[in-house]
Symmetry: C2
Subunit: 264 residues, 2 copies
């Protein structure tokens, strides 16, 4: 047991902090407190020349803290592991150096740290590489509730089933999912819009679908006519919500008129 | 247009405010600011004699605001519409009285206002009853990300599909969903535990399942051996997360050893 305790003392505390979806005032009080108190904030960005979306969200709320280090980490926007792996090795080396000095480090991430986030890989590697390290997760407002809030669209209630699908990995099983779930959230749809529109039309669900990009961010876009959306490979933060409302109800039947995604 | 503008002026602004899942410091900065500035906070509770969970969460962060009204509303904890409907009619009458005085009103709700929340019914009724009313939703940290954070368990990444199932309305299609999704979140499992354990065992998924109740609240409970959980009809805030991690991966293959729900 003593050995384990000694090991625990070898590293500073690691935090995975969700900064929410875009607006600085959607950070939680806990996120702000922790980001103001850690020795180092680890800030992911896509390249040496890019600004960090997560830090752009967090910095107005966190401000400048005397003596605090900002550790920028570069993660190329690709799933090509021959590029991503070396980037992660480099980042993990930099993080380890900080933790070995027993400094606390908070890795910031858009949305929530454990829901489709860059932080997840660090979380899994940290447990393997730094045994006994103390990790704390600070949950954040996640993309799909932000999308719901700006579209004024309930996601699910009562007996409803929800599916969350990363759209760009193929839509082969989507018709089946559309039939058996009540609300379907399609994440990162930017590269599959024409195919998606075709499927939704065939299933008779175009009228209860809404496209939202950059929810709660500047340049937020909400579009109820999905046919107006073309593929836009730049817009990473895009989502389509399909809401059927067939089994909806806090009070069953009370919302039966409410059959479309459009706020009425 | 003028008519519409006049109508808009007839009501105070309505807010649906998510206060997060249990800890007061998981309120967002926006939630705190709005709850400190509105004329009236509408506080749901299960009966005249019960304290409000949502207000217990919010009040340490909001504090006492000079001149602010607290409007308590009673919603019995049942889905029997012969009891729920009259309760809502009474509540809507009280809310309307405030809004007609052009006072702003914030209805607080645990988690997020548009994700399995009491607020949804008010949202739908408000649009019908008070045409032109200005509504703003403040998204909150939702239960499943809080569950993930306390269990230190990534929900989904990369190519993974997520299903959210309200467990108490029947588990007939669960085996099929368990096969086609990567992470399955079963909400409000308290009344179906033995049946659920049986299904998970049959599908060989007991080892990658975790039970969490009251995440981020006092008396939070995390249990990796689901057989230890008996039905507990009082514990409303309970969830089971099933995470398969077969297609997981920020870096495909990198997490292949990570096959159980237990943090390693």
């Amino acid at each position: 047991m003593l050995k384990n305790q000694d090991t625990k003392k070898s590293y500073g505390k690691l935090y995975g902090v969700g900064v929410g979806t875009g607006a600085s005032d959607l950070l939680t009080l806990r996120a702000v407190n922790i980001l103001r108190s850690v020795d180092t904030i680890a800030i992911p960005r896509s390249s040496l020349y890019a600004s960090s979306v997560a830090w752009r969200i967090a910095s107005p709320a966190v401000g400048k803290v005397e003596g605090q280090e900002h550790l920028y980490l570069e993660f190329p926007m690709t799933r090509d592991s021959s590029l991503v792996r070396p980037a992660w090795e480099k980042a993990l080396g930099k993080i380890e150096k900080v933790l070995l000095q027993k400094k606390s480090l908070a890795f910031i991430t858009e949305g929530d740290p454990l829901f489709f986030s860059t932080y997840i890989y660090l979380h899994q590697e940290a447990k393997k590489r730094w045994p006994g390290i103390h990790i704390e997760i600070v949950p954040g407002v996640s993309s799909f509730t932000a999308v719901a809030s700006v579209a004024s669209l309930p996601i699910a209630d009562g007996q409803e089933k929800v599916a969350v699908i990363p759209a760009r990995y193929g839509l082969d099983d989507l018709p089946e999912i559309l039939r058996s779930f009540d609300t379907i959230l399609l994440m990162k749809v930017s590269s599959v819009m024409p195919e998606l529109v075709q499927i939704l039309e065939k299933e008779g669900l175009l009228d209860c679908s809404v496209y939202v990009s950059r929810a709660t961010m500047p340049y937020q876009k909400i579009e109820y006519n999905l046919k107006n959306i073309q593929n836009d490979s730049c817009d990473y933060f895009s989502m389509v919500v399909v809401r059927k409302t067939e089994r909806s109800g806090v009070l069953m039947g009370a919302t039966s008129q409410d059959k479309t995604a459009k706020p009425n």
